[in-house]
């Protein structure tokens, strides 16, 4: 089957920088650990008062279209993929779909549209859906968009954490960001997506919940961080081994790895558990220091920043590793040739 590629990507990050020290300083009870040291997160971006999931998603979509060879009217399908769907401030919209607003705002007048939700695996799930629809001949191209206005959970955590150990600590790692990509058929069948694999370890789906708080107005995320990390550590080498066998690949097939940006230490521990397969380890790409965990947009924020700074070698082979509440584990391997920022 013909390969598909990321033809264009766009990212928007709010300009307001908030440091980990600043967040910790607002808390009634300081954590028992050094959050910055543990996670590697120095700063994250916060939305301004005028921004919400919709406005930042629109900015990313426009940024993506700006450098695409496609006009909005050429797009066959728009898939919206964020966890947060805040519009007009903090109205969480279930209907109509965000994709219908965005489709109309960017004038993708010939596009079908729907929303999906899959926690932090949202954008990569969108890539999996779109890649499958293109392979089955249902569409020729498509656009995936996500606008994560996720820092309201950090605000709730600051307000509600009253013990040195609390399920809301992971909420302090997040940052706001939006991303978008356009996918089309590979022009030479070399550039593009080599494989996508996803699996849901639903037995552990109760380890992380995002929902309204029951203590104050606002949204919150409750994470059993140790349990989540433990399942990830145990599962990752098994799934990577299975992936390498299925696709007859090895570590030499990858120049770079982009994991979900949760915490520097967790990522490094996770990758080390796969040393039987990743030996030597491909270069791991991060933006977590400056942007924190930007939820479903994280892989594309990393990719964008590294492309923009021209840090990727020519014909780079990259593996994106997804880990999200659910527990969703996913892998996307690709070769980058013409994709630029």
């Amino acid at each position: 089957m013909k390969k598909n590629r990321f033809e264009s990507i766009g990212v928007y990050t709010p300009s307001n920088v908030v440091s980990t020290q600043e967040l910790i300083g607002k808390m009634k009870v300081a954590p028992l650990f050094d959050l910055e040291k543990l996670t590697g997160i120095k700063n994250r971006r916060y939305r301004s008062k005028d921004e919400d999931s919709f406005s930042i998603a629109l900015a990313a979509a426009k940024d993506c279209l700006k450098r695409s060879s496609y006009k909005a009217s050429d797009i066959d399908i728009v898939i919206y993929t964020s966890i947060t769907k805040f519009i007009n401030g903090f109205k969480y919209v279930f209907e109509p779909s965000f994709s219908s607003y965005l489709r109309n705002e960017i004038a993708a007048v010939n596009a079908m549209n729907f929303d999906i939700m899959n926690a932090c695996a949202g954008m990569l799930t969108g890539a999996y859906i779109l890649d499958s629809m293109m392979k089955a001949g249902l569409v020729k191209n498509g656009m995936v968009i996500s606008g994560e206005c996720i820092t309201p959970i950090a605000d709730t955590a600051i307000r509600e954490i009253s013990e040195p150990i609390d399920e809301q600590f992971a909420s302090l790692t997040v940052g706001d960001a939006a991303a978008a990509f356009i996918m089309d058929h590979s022009p030479d069948n070399e550039e593009g997506i080599d494989f996508i694999e996803f699996i849901t370890l639903a037995e552990y789906s109760h380890f992380c919940f995002g929902m309204p708080s029951a203590k104050h107005e606002g949204v919150a995320m409750y994470t059993k961080a140790i349990e989540l990390h433990s399942v990830g550590i145990k599962s990752l080498p098994v799934l990577v081994g299975d992936l390498f066998k299925k696709y007859k690949i090895s570590t030499v097939d990858f120049d770079y790895a982009i994991p979900h940006q949760t915490s520097m230490r967790a990522i490094q521990t996770g990758m080390k558990t796969c040393s039987e397969y990743f030996n030597p380890l491909p270069e791991i790409l991060y933006v977590i220091q400056d942007f924190g965990n930007t939820a479903s947009t994280s892989h594309f924020v990393v990719l964008y920043k590294h492309l923009k700074e021209k840090k990727l070698k020519k014909n780079a082979r990259v593996m994106l590793l997804s880990q999200a509440s659910g527990i969703v584990m996913g892998f996307l391997g690709m070769t980058i040739k013409s994709l630029e920022v």
């Binding site: 969480y92 919209v93 549209n113 849901t200 969703v328």
Partner: protein
């Protein structure tokens, strides 16, 4: 290429008012009835919108997968038996988008069987008079048909480019105080009934022209019904008899995202659906949006 519904089920709420439970029970019954081994269901797409406690993470599909006991722990059991789950939203046409998505996964060789579930409940998990939708769960199992001339043959989707979406469903989380897990607002425009009917009619006409489908050949219409006579009016306006419209309003009220599966299930159980029959699925919803799918039994 096509996908076929090989089994369907509906689970209306009686005592249980949980979107997870309703979808899971419908899902398990659907798989049991199909004869397909549960471990072979490789994908679960949940199309329900209104959910227990307004949970938005993880995907409700993951919680439904767990509740169903569907390949929940392949790393510790059998890695060959795995399922991928996610939520897909688009009002009452969500089922048609999910069917098309399943078509993509099945016909690109990534899944043999895709389970589509749906359910909507008030987030308080209680019966609230202001909430307009019935608490119902539904499920459909899709697979590649033996004969590619059967199953979903064509899809057509239409999104309005201007005007009001017709209705909004939202959680004004910062206005609810500590009641955010129990509150939802669904507000309909006064002219939604007429506008949604007109929009559905225009979508069917555009579908007929674009896909070269003669609507006169259609035997049954399975459609949204935000109000009782929607189906009769739609059937009449597209040139079919009132009796061609499958009406489940009296049976279920408006089960929102479960409407199209429930309509199909009702038709299948009636015994009137024969091999080769052409069935038109017509979903409408907030946006305005409409989806049309031609299905051959």
């Amino acid at each position: 290429m096509a996908v076929k519904i090989i089994s369907s089920s509906v689970y209306p709420a009686e005592i249980i008012h949980s979107s997870i439970e309703l979808a899971a029970r419908a899902g398990n019954k659907c798989i049991d009835d199909s004869g397909v081994k549960k471990e072979n269901v490789g994908m679960l797409i949940h199309t329900g919108i209104y959910r227990d406690k307004n949970v938005v993470e993880p995907a409700l599909a993951c919680l439904i997968q767990k509740n169903m006991g569907l390949n929940t722990d392949p790393v510790n059991k059998n890695l060959s038996n795995r399922t991928f789950a996610f939520d897909l939203f688009n009002s009452e046409l969500g089922f048609l988008y999910a069917a098309q998505t399943a078509d993509g996964f099945i016909n690109s060789g990534r899944a043999d069987y895709v389970l589509i579930t749906s359910s909507d409940v008030h987030p308080s998990q209680d019966v609230v008079p202001e909430y307009p939708f019935s608490h119902v769960g539904a499920a459909a199992l899709l697979a590649k048909p033996d004969d590619t001339k059967t199953g979903f043959q064509h899809y057509y989707f239409k999104t309005a480019t201007k005007g009001s979406p017709g209705y909004y469903g939202y959680a004004a989380i910062y206005e609810y105080g500590v009641e955010g897990r129990k509150s939802i607002i669904v507000n309909f425009d006064k002219d939604f009934e007429n506008r949604s009917l007109d929009f559905a009619i225009s979508a069917v006409k555009e579908f007929s022209e674009a896909k070269k489908v003669n609507i006169a050949d259609v035997k049954f219409v399975i459609k949204s019904h935000f109000y009782k006579d929607f189906g009769k009016k739609l059937a009449k306006e597209i040139g079919l008899g009132e009796n061609n419209a499958i009406d489940i309003y009296d049976k279920y009220g408006n089960p929102h995202t479960s409407t199209l599966i429930a309509g199909y299930n009702f038709l299948k159980q009636s015994g009137f659906m024969l091999p080769g029959d052409k069935i038109l699925f017509v979903g409408v919803g907030s946006g305005l949006m409409a989806g049309v799918g031609l299905y051959v039994a």
